[in-house]
Symmetry: C2
Subunit: 373 residues, 2 copies
């Protein structure tokens, strides 16, 4: 096999497929990237069976063929080559596959492997694909993924993110037992209903290779085992989590006793300052006291005390409620609005941060500060 | 005590003096910053006895006084305050000193200490001070300090940097037993001769607070125990290393068998690529083969092999010589010239990289590759 392409193209392609190369594994073939030029295009593939990525690199094929190369060594070498055309050539000698990588005066030789042990991406039907801009999908993932539970969670579904299509709305949902994050994204047209749970870990890697373009689209297809994202010259297939996701609608409520409007930035800065006096690892909640015109945060630790008021608009009852400051911060960071609305019932009931059309809903469970103090 | 100043000024002042606050210490007073407003200026001081820094902060003093405050907590709080005027006030109650820090609606209270245990900077005579721009000093330090030995070095003088004044030249020298770095900086006028060895650790902190300004000057004074740097509103005093520095001139030589001129950037990129196939921790030298028109680097490891030629201009003999690639890279990075000259004698003699007027001299000992292979 031999092909020539620009260093930039090859680096980009390798960066994309490397997202599906696991950091640690005992199976060395999983740490390889397959280069397949047998079909007349330069195709890079990586696949760890949870997540598989395939992308095309523009260039000239001199000799068609297949080789699997260690992803890390190959990427390191290509990244440090001069900014010029790179030639990649393989040669079989005595059962060994030698890979020659050259660019200007630099010549590297490393060992490659045949493609026999390599698993390609599963075949999938491209029917009923929903379409969404890369920017919108990337954003909606970033604005929800932080609330997914860790992989070690007792309930495995918590480590996933729900993709739910209903008419012309794509709803993304994550939860971890202490909070729920929901984004509703409007699609350009109506689609058949669909519910899929994708491991947050896979989705995180996918969001890294989505561009910020509002023009360029992603097509999303699914089967009962996999979900496929197709965009630019890239195809990503992720194994889905089988089983039923939580009935989230049941956990939401529109009743409230207190509604307040607060400047998001001021609230975040105030929370940020309130955690200064808390030592790392100390799970102390912050106590938020709401009266007619102020939200006040007070904290008192061995290091000192802090007290700050933020102006608010309030309807309903006064209330004092305790929160894990990280959960509040995560939700506030995921919102773009300058002013946000918070809905509270009492110190033991969930708090909601949401906009009027429910394009986002963040539910956060309070912390019982009476027992903590 | 009470004073009011802008957050920006206070953050800047704290950043400067914090460089003299040790990361770890059993003496908690060393982790404090002293605020002294008794003389009508807001003076911040930190001093760990190796290095002491004092700086002035612009602001209004309402009540003169002294307080010592934990550097980390105080800096963290101030850094996160809104961008506005900050008020710092102390109050003695029941033998405790409370420090109130407030800015807009944010109010912090932390404990302070009296200044009794705090050691001020040693007094020094301001005579025979040499003057140099902050930019020039900062640069000359950066271009030499990397070759100083570590503090654990058997020979303590290796962990220092020589400041040597001779006529109108300031010479900075570091060495670690494998290499020497020398910078000769021209001063605006002649000064009495002087030789001082400053711990590289202290010099590193000082260079962090020097600005990049070619206009603004540093004045340097010394006694037999200390060296003082005075610039902007800041005074830095560092303990010096007592004893004789190495006779470096004896180690330099202008004889050579091979002289070559090479593009610095191309040489660096080539070295950088040659180390790709070397696993971390493997102290394998790179073998540099010099013939009439090329410098060739070859490397062969378990991961693969690499070979690259860089065009050179050469006078004298062909030679093959082994180097620790890090030492070459450190020296090349410290030079600004596009083309550099290397002087070689044989594979066992030191190699020199220097310019014609010796504004920089980098000596690197080769590695005996015959025995390594």
């Amino acid at each position: 096999m031999k092909f020539v392409c620009s260093k930039t193209n090859l680096v980009n392609g390798l960066q994309i497929v490397s997202k599906a190369v696991p950091g640690k594994t005992t199976m060395s073939i999983l740490q390889c990237i397959l280069i397949d030029t047998t079909t007349g295009v330069i195709k890079l593939v990586a696949n760890d069976s949870e997540l598989g990525i395939e992308t095309l690199v523009e260039g000239n094929i001199v000799d068609r063929g297949i080789v699997a190369i260690d992803a890390k060594i190959f990427s390191d070498i290509v990244r440090k080559l001069p900014d010029n055309d790179v030639s990649v050539e393989t040669q079989n000698t005595d059962g060994n596959i030698k890979v020659y990588i050259s660019c200007e005066n630099a010549k590297f030789t490393i060992l490659g492997r045949g493609g026999e042990d390599f698993t390609y991406l599963p075949e999938m039907d491209r029917v009923d694909g929903i379409e969404i801009s890369q920017y919108t999908l990337k954003n909606a993932i970033a604005q929800t993924i932080f609330a997914a539970g860790s992989i070690n969670e007792s309930n495995r579904m918590m480590s996933g993110e729900l993709f739910c299509v209903n008419g012309n709305v794509l709803k993304l949902v994550t939860l971890d037992g202490h909070r729920i994050a929901i984004r509703n994204v409007e699609l350009a047209k109506e689609y058949p209903s669909k519910k899929i749970v994708i491991p947050a870990k896979s989705l995180n890697e996918i969001s890294k290779i989505l561009s910020d373009s509002t023009e360029s689209m992603v097509k999303i297809y699914s089967s009962d085992k996999n979900i496929m994202f197709e965009f630019d010259d890239t195809v990503v297939v992720a194994r889905i989590l089988e089983g039923d996701y939580f009935n989230v609608d049941q956990m939401l409520s529109s009743d409230y006793e207190t509604k307040l409007t607060i400047n998001r930035r001021e609230f975040m800065n105030c929370i940020d300052r309130s955690t200064l006096l808390v030592k790392e690892g100390d799970k102390r909640p912050i106590i938020v006291a709401i009266d007619d015109s102020n939200l006040e945060i007070k904290i008192n630790t061995a290091l000192g005390s802090m007290d700050e008021k933020v102006r608010i608009n309030k309807q309903g009852k006064d209330v004092q409620i305790g929160f894990n400051p990280k959960f509040l911060m995560d939700a506030l960071r995921a919102i773009d609005d300058e002013e946000i609305d918070m809905y509270l019932v009492n110190p033991k009931a969930p708090c909601f941060i949401k906009d009027e059309k429910s394009s986002y809903i963040y539910l956060i469970l309070p912390v019982n500060f009476a027992t903590v103090r």
